[in-house]
């Protein structure tokens, strides 16, 4: 099963839904994600068969500035180095185009992204396509990467506020790619910090432009306060650096890792 996971890095990841997934016996997952700590968690739990990714880098505190920087997730790293799952590695923008192609139901979208780089070596199935239109000089059309559609069986996203019918809004600064994940998926599951009556949705969201997710694209919605923790969900709460750093420290100790994972899954 191919599952798209919303958010970006350690930002607004659908962790309550991930936890619920881990309480089932679903395994053999193909995960598509702008990866944060959920990737290392799924890998450590032995649920990951294949990963489509441009990065897996949870944000961590920057010792120099006190801000944050993209860190390396040691659980992801150790599982990848051990060959625990296979992977399709692509550019961040190629992932966007793959999801967009799936959402628009076309087989691929053309792009210059990837030309000259090792993406075609990393993914031998990746093809190029020649433009049927002449180039600017009137000559042969240019060759482009044909990013294939990344169709999802399901998408899991966490937003700030929604209604019982499956409409939802983000109230932080960035919608990330959550709406696109839902549009690229056969089934879309949304958790939200709080559910309000539909007539209160615009007010709760702040303004109408924040109603990014419509029920045309959602299969199920659930109220899950703190549903992104330990990742951040601004303005409601920040990243739980203590949890994340304690989790990362268990990489070399499988017993401690499994115990912490078990405790986290139980909640």
């Amino acid at each position: 099963m191919t599952v798209g996971i919303g958010g970006w890095g350690s930002r607004r990841k659908p962790m309550t839904l991930i936890r619920a997934l881990l309480r089932t016996d679903v395994t053999d997952l193909h995960v598509v994600s702008y990866g944060g700590p959920e990737v290392g968690i799924l890998a450590a739990a032995g649920r990951l068969r294949h990963l489509t990714f441009a990065f897996v880098s949870p944000d961590v505190p920057n010792p120099i500035t006190g801000g944050s920087v993209p860190g390396l997730d040691p659980h992801f790293r150790s599982a990848r180095q051990a060959g625990a799952f296979s992977a399709t590695e692509l550019d961040e923008g190629m992932m966007l185009l793959g999801l967009q192609a799936a959402a628009w139901r076309v087989p691929f979208l053309p792009t210059r992204v990837g030309l000259g780089s090792d993406v075609t070596r990393l993914d031998p199935n990746l093809r190029t396509v020649r433009s049927p239109y002449p180039g600017p000089d009137g000559g042969e059309g240019e060759e482009l990467i044909a990013q294939p559609a990344i169709a999802l069986d399901a998408a899991l996203v966490h937003l700030d506020v929604g209604d019982e019918r499956g409409n939802a809004a983000f109230t932080g600064a960035d919608p990330y790619f959550d709406d696109l994940m839902l549009e690229a998926a056969a089934e879309g599951y949304v958790s939200v910090e709080r559910i309000v009556p539909t007539e209160d949705l615009v007010d709760a969201a702040g303004d109408v432009t924040r109603l990014r997710v419509g029920r045309l694209f959602t299969t199920g919605i659930v109220e899950a306060p703190g549903g992104a923790a330990p990742t951040e969900c601004p303005p409601a709460y920040g990243r739980d650096d203590d949890w994340q750093s304690a989790w990362f420290k268990t990489t070399k100790d499988p017993e401690a890792r499994d115990a912490m994972l078990e405790e986290w899954i139980r909640g």
Binding site: L72, D91, E92, G116, S117, L122, A173, D174, Y176, F177
Partner: protein, 256 residues
């Protein structure tokens, strides 16, 4: 007595100079010294540059680190919008490099011969293929070493000049690796065959040390220039506005 030149200040000025002449584009330096250098470029000589807050907006503030409630927002720029900017060609990014070769190919994805079973997993491709094919790119290397400046990178993430030369002219029309700035010097690709050339060495850095710290043959000009120091006006901007806490000195310490 004149104060000794501080290495971090030279690096910051070298980064700033990378953006000289860029005009009204998105200057997107990633990292501590790059962000400070980019802010210096805008404050000192390239006022039209647009710059990010590292999150979802482009801001006008001069300071390198700005609390959220003090940001002067010019426009909204969430992650998805960034691709519109990058693919429009209106950006100059400065990325890091775990490995870089003489052609300017960059690796941040993985180390080892088999990318499907990496010896060391790094960040991933991130946006490097798209950045380098669509826009001017520079690199920042805080610790110049033969492990970073390598004969051949293990995974080509950012596209170098040899790879770009194999593409059609229209595909490669926006490709430019402008500079590599390290703690030892400034490098460019303005040689006959677009291989890495010493543009300048920072004050006090000796050529032999740079040659020893580089895993390939650099193009060495007959007279190797010395990297410039920031002007007194630039130093005042750095100390008073852009980086009053001196975070730059923590990323690049002064040589012993």
């Amino acid at each position: 007595m004149v104060d000794p030149v501080r290495r971090a200040d030279v690096c910051v000025a070298a980064v700033a100079d990378c953006f000289s002449g860029d005009g009204g584009i998105l200057a997107n330096p990633i990292g501590v010294i790059p962000m400070i250098g980019g802010r210096l470029a805008r404050a000192a000589f390239e006022p039209a540059l647009m710059m990010t807050d590292g999150e979802a907006t482009l801001i006008a503030n001069a300071a390198a680190t700005v609390p959220a409630d003090e940001r002067v927002v010019e426009t909204y720029n969430p992650y998805r919008r960034m691709f519109d900017v990058v693919w429009s060609g209106r950006r100059h990014v400065m990325m890091g490099a775990s490995q870089i070769d003489r052609h300017g190919n960059q690796n941040i994805a993985a180390l080892g011969p088999d990318p499907q079973r990496p010896k060391v997993q790094l960040l991933g491709l991130r946006g490097a293929p798209g950045n380098t094919i669509h826009d001017t790119t520079s690199y920042w290397v805080p610790r110049h070493s033969p492990q970073v400046f390598v004969a051949a990178v293990d995974v080509v993430c950012g596209v170098g000049y040899d790879r770009a030369a194999e593409l059609s002219p229209v595909a490669a029309r926006d490709h430019e690796i402008r500079r590599v700035v390290s703690d030892l010097g400034v490098f460019d690709f303005e040689s006959a065959d677009h291989t890495m050339r010493i543009r300048s060495l920072h004050p006090g850095v000796d050529l032999d040390a740079v040659v020893a710290a580089t895993g390939f043959d650099l193009v060495v000009p007959d007279d190797v220039p010395t990297s410039r120091e920031p002007t007194p006006e630039e130093l005042a901007l750095l100390d008073e506005v852009i980086d009053p806490d001196g975070t730059r000195y923590r990323e690049v310490p002064d040589p012993a």
